[in-house]
Symmetry: C2
């Protein structure tokens, strides 16, 4: 079972938590300055060091381009991994909770995902991977500044902790603007996961720490959890207000979106994200009762352009055929569940 | 079973056929010139004459206003029947095929409805009512000009024959404009059943004869049937073109409308007419297979404002509550059928 097929804490607002640790090998130049042979040496060293973890090693070069896109849509790899593929690889656990990108911006990017609000668990699991790798690898580490990283914004803990939040009510009432403007002062940043700024497609936002120097991993996560809980409370209160004041309107909106998702024959990814957001809200507000939230979690990945293209096979190049396949997938996934 | 719960000939395009005969009693002034006591005398005479027909006699005055509106929505009475209700009545058969308005513009308006293309049958059945009534009533009749009527446009046969057609494809491709402009020359008229002209709500059009003088009932109907068959063929050809060239798009459109009709919580009558038109098209094009056309026929009456107001009881005054009730009705009627 993949991590996104599980329901996590605070799952009505928090879709997922992610920990990313940036690490570099002290005997090699940073990834951007390495020769190809050095890069391949790093690949081999990491592959050997990761053996005890039982991860699957995937060379980016050996992978069909559509599969790379799929990994990106599932947030397992970053866009940087799509270039200079002959020097890059990713190691992944069966449940996709753990992934290690090799020769991205840093030599190592250790990632751990958890459903819902699970930053502590994700950190624990990333730390375990880090510890195992460190047994065989020599990390660049400065006694005063901490882990060395290619970009100075990561130096220190090398930690990026983030949560993906579903904030349809705060988006609808405009409070999201205040939030976007204010979290920076607290050392955090918030941005749309798809699309730009407040035009977040599917009302999904990622909130993450900006500071990695002069603060411990534990303190970073403690503050992020506090912020996420505060935002979650605000979102929930606003949902309750909507339910109290505009129950028919919101019921109409989410049920129409469910009806469209269950019946459409052509579905763009933009529309799919919007409909999925509405249905997710409907489930979490108790309006939609016969759809399982984990089906919606899974569907939100499965409707991505690369996932659909891979289902289409040879027809994957045609946007029209992808839109028809996307609609078919949504119908099938939802009709089984009422 | 009401007539609109049955499927008629050419039912994929022709919703219904209607015959209306205008008759006046020669010993009374026209309805607009009668005293109240004369009008009441006409009511009594007609009621007595109609006895052998086994129709239900409904005094307009005794009827709650919402019920009058419902009869109008089902095309059993005309808007004129809503004024000066103390002098008006309607006689109706159980299946609502036959109705006789008394003291509308003419003393008698005998109507006969049939599902699909059934003008001959409707004429036969109207003639039967006419014959029975004539046994006890003295009609105004001129040996040269035929039946006398209040408005000279009805003088002669007193016949108005009409068909209600569903023309979504001809509306979409704009051919409806040519049709609207050309049928006048043939002595017919075509207009939107709801809304005005080409802005026909729900793509429903009524086509009827304009000429009542110098042409027999049989000839009028023969020509109207020819015209309806010609229009029906054009509509069908256009539907086939759409299916051949834009199958995904049309499937997407009708399935989304079905999804909305099955799931919405707020539904205006305008939107309901549009959705019902799409679903009707989907059924008749073979795209929608699990919805029965007679359910759609019934629903198209049941979503009318007065029918919904009557279901709402005390809440019937509020447009918002009617829209919620309309959506509930559509969900219930369609969810039972898959």
């Amino acid at each position: 079972m993949k991590w996104y097929e599980q329901q996590g804490k605070q799952g009505d607002v928090v879709i997922s938590s992610r920990i990313r640790l940036a690490r570099n090998l002290k005997d090699f130049p940073f990834a951007s300055k390495m020769s190809q042979s050095q890069a391949k040496e790093v690949l081999q060293k990491v592959k050997a060091a990761a053996k005890p973890l039982g991860l699957t090693y995937l060379s980016m070069e050996a992978m069909p381009p559509v599969n790379r896109q799929m990994l990106m849509e599932r947030h397992i790899i970053s866009p940087e991994m799509l270039g200079a593929v002959d020097t890059k690889a990713v190691l992944i656990s069966e449940d996709e909770k753990i992934s290690v990108m090799v020769n991205e911006e840093d030599h190592l990017r250790i990632q751990s995902m958890m459903p819902g609000l699970g930053l502590q668990e994700a950190l624990k699991s990333a730390n375990h991977v880090d510890d195992v790798l460190e047994k065989s690898l020599d990390y660049g580490f400065h006694p005063q500044y901490g882990y060395t990283t290619c970009c100075p914004t990561n130096t220190g803990t090398g930690l990026r902790a983030s949560c993906m939040l579903h904030l349809p009510a705060l988006t609808a009432n405009g409070f999201i603007h205040t939030l976007l403007a204010s979290v920076g002062k607290l050392g955090f940043t918030i941005r749309g996961v798809y699309g730009e700024g407040t035009k977040a497609l599917g009302n999904l936002y990622q909130i993450s720490n900006q500071i990695t120097l002069g603060i411990s991993e534990e303190e970073t996560i403690k503050r992020l959890v506090e912020l996420v809980l505060m935002v979650g409370d605000k979102e929930r209160k606003m949902r309750q207000n909507i339910l109290a004041e505009q129950k028919s309107r919101i019921t109409d909106m989410v049920m129409r979106s469910l009806g469209t998702l269950k019946n459409a024959y052509i579905l763009s990814s933009d529309e799919a994200f919007k409909l999925i957001s509405d249905v997710r809200l409907g489930i979490n507000m108790g309006i939609i009762k016969d759809v399982d939230i984990t089906d919606i979690n899974r569907l939100s990945y499965e409707v991505g352009a690369a996932h659909i293209a891979s289902l289409c096979g040879e027809d994957g190049e045609s946007a029209e055929k992808r839109d028809i396949m996307r609609a078919k997938l949504a119908r099938e996934k939802l009709s089984l569940k009422g």
